[in-house]
């Protein structure tokens, strides 16, 4: 499943493209492009750098009040304050429970379904795959109003159960496509050998298939963890009690209550909340890039 663009291999085309116009151009062009790209990256990272700097300034000194002066020092007080605030910790814990629970359930479901789509030819297979692609395109937003109403009627709002079920379902369409591709890349011989030895389907799944598919399953797990962790709208609509809110919803409330005061504390909360996503992405970037390309351009 190598849909990840190969962006560093040198091709003959690249050198031919420089054309006959000489060495100067061939030397200058990369330099110019690198400069452009570096400036562009700085612009992209600027808001993030700004929020990190803000979070390290004492209260009421950042945001245009000139905290970039010589005597300013890094201030970690907002972080210690947040990490000893029980409500903030509860929000973080809720985010963790919902995102890990949802991602784990997604991974379990797509491991089985992905295998079925990769190895079996059954009635309705093609139609179901097309249906999953369509679901991949359709955002969850239009489902939130009925979900809210149903969850309220069933008294499931403000529960881990509803959040885990909803998150798990969000991850299914992309997960199945990723795992289908992954299983198709594993040679069948191992399974056939196991079948000759008389292993049943379940033994084979747990002893042979799942261990081989572990890299794919890990990708599905972490991609979904990060998406669930970052989810804001679904949580905003399905959660309203302070005991059950997630970090993103807490951040939204906090922003509304503050109206301009203590932005530095809010910045520190932003940094803590964005950290897991960024760190996991940096460590496992290929899982994300491949997953995105797989989800959109395959079919």
């Amino acid at each position: 499943m190598s849909t990840l663009p190969n962006i560093e291999a040198h091709s003959r085309a690249a050198s031919v493209q420089a054309g006959p116009s000489g060495r100067v151009r061939r030397r200058l062009e990369p330099l110019l492009l690198h400069t452009l790209l570096i400036i562009f990256c700085i612009i992209v990272l600027f808001p993030i750098g700004y929020v990190i700097l803000t979070s390290l300034a004492p209260s009421r000194t950042a945001l245009g009040r000139g905290f970039f002066n010589a005597e300013s020092q890094l201030f970690f007080g907002h972080y210690t304050r947040l990490l000893s605030n029980s409500r903030f910790l509860v929000y973080i814990l809720n985010s963790a429970i919902n995102s890990i629970g949802g991602a784990a359930l997604t991974t379990f479901c797509v491991a089985l379904a992905g295998y079925a789509f990769a190895r079996f030819r059954f009635r309705g297979r093609r139609a179901l795959l097309a249906f999953l692609l369509a679901l991949l395109m359709l955002p969850n937003l239009t489902n939130l109003i009925p979900l809210y109403k149903l969850a309220s009627d069933l008294q499931l709002r403000d529960t881990y159960l509803i959040m885990i079920l909803v998150y798990a379902s969000y991850g299914v369409p992309l997960g199945i496509w990723i795992m289908k591709g992954f299983f198709e890349s594993i040679p069948r011989e191992l399974e056939e050998a196991a079948a000759v030895d008389g292993a049943g389907l379940w033994t084979m799944l747990w002893r042979i298939i799942i261990p081989l598919a572990l890299p794919g399953l890990t990708s599905v797990m972490i991609i979904n963890f990060v998406y669930n962790w970052n989810d804001f709208l679904t949580a905003l609509i399905l959660l309203s009690s302070t005991a059950m809110k997630t970090a993103t919803v807490g951040l939204f409330d906090f922003q509304n209550q503050l109206s301009g005061n203590d932005n530095e504390l809010l910045a520190a909360a932003c940094v803590i909340i964005m950290l897991p996503g960024i760190l996991i992405f940096l460590v496992a970037r290929n899982a994300f890039l491949e997953g995105i390309a797989e989800g959109a351009v395959k079919g």
Partner: protein, 287 residues
């Protein structure tokens, strides 16, 4: 392999039960809700009344909240998609030169995609905070005394900018993936024939990346129609109703005014828009 006819269905069952519970049933329920009005917590069947109210063109004046929100959504979508695709195309062309370190650049521009909409929204709101915002102060000499977020066009511009910032890498990756399916032999041959850079783009790159570009445009358009988080975080629909897009309108009707029937009808209309785009996507993929 020995297996029973039911085996594949058993294997896919957990996944599809989840989809049925979280997506299919609520969608069906949404159709039903949209034919009702909620009165003191109880539902009352009113047929297509909600749709009539929503789509009321007021003698072709298109003045009600729905048309206004639809217009806001379309304005947002047009600029967001246009700017993102153009920038993504340029980046993809540069990345396709396979310079050293391209992976590093790609990873850096992908970081915004890994942030929650609410975190990104708060960051952009700060940059444009009246009086204190850094970009607000830098841009003040150009745009005049009114804070950028206090003018309708300015507020819309900030949300468009923030959303482009977040989605750019996604679009770049898709377009780049399309460009890299092109065999380098084609360029070699063109270079030997003496084709100029523009000719190579016009006759080799463009025809071959057009399908991926169409897919990217469709993905971005769907994102635009359903954008909500950034608007909630940055403008909350204001000033006035100038950034009140369809999604915010729907959210408010349901969770602030508890008009579930009306809100459900809005979500059915949005689902219709999304489905049209999704069908085009399936068509493009098949070709």
């Amino acid at each position: 392999m020995r297996h029973n006819k039911l085996t594949p269905y058993l294997l896919i069952a957990p996944a599809f039960v989840l989809i049925a519970l979280v997506t299919l049933y609520p969608t069906w329920y949404s159709f039903w809700l949209s034919l009702n009005r909620s009165r003191r917590g109880a539902l009352e069947f009113i047929g297509f009344e909600n749709y009539r109210n929503i789509l009321d063109t007021d003698g072709f004046q298109f003045r009600n909240d729905f048309w206004e929100s639809l217009w806001n959504t379309l304005t947002f979508g047009f600029f967001f998609v246009l700017i993102t695709v153009v920038l993504a195309f340029l980046l993809a062309i540069i990345f396709n030169r396979r310079l050293k370190g391209t992976t590093v650049y790609m990873v850096i521009i992908f970081v915004p995609w890994m942030l929650s909409e609410i975190v990104s929204g708060i960051m952009f709101r700060w940059l444009f905070l009246p009086q204190f915002g850094l970009l607000q102060n830098w841009l003040a000499p150009l745009v005049g005394e009114t804070p950028i977020l206090a003018s309708g066009a300015g507020a819309m511009g900030v949300v468009i900018g923030a959303t482009v910032w977040r989605s750019l890498a996604f679009a770049t990756l898709l377009i780049l993936a399309g460009m890299q399916t092109i065999a380098s032999e084609l360029y070699d041959a063109a270079a030997i024939d003496g084709a100029s850079g523009w000719q190579r783009f016009r006759y080799i790159t463009w025809p071959l990346v057009r399908p991926t570009t169409t897919i990217t445009v469709l993905f971005l358009t769907i994102q635009a129609v359903n954008a909500a988080g950034m608007f909630l975080a940055i403008t909350d629909g204001g000033p006035g109703r100038s950034t009140e897009v369809l999604s915010l309108f729907m959210y408010r009707e349901a969770l602030e005014f508890f008009n579930f029937g009306y809100a459900a009808a809005l979500s059915v209309i949005m689902l219709g828009l999304n489905s049209i785009l999704a069908l085009i996507y399936l068509r493009v993929l098949r070709d």
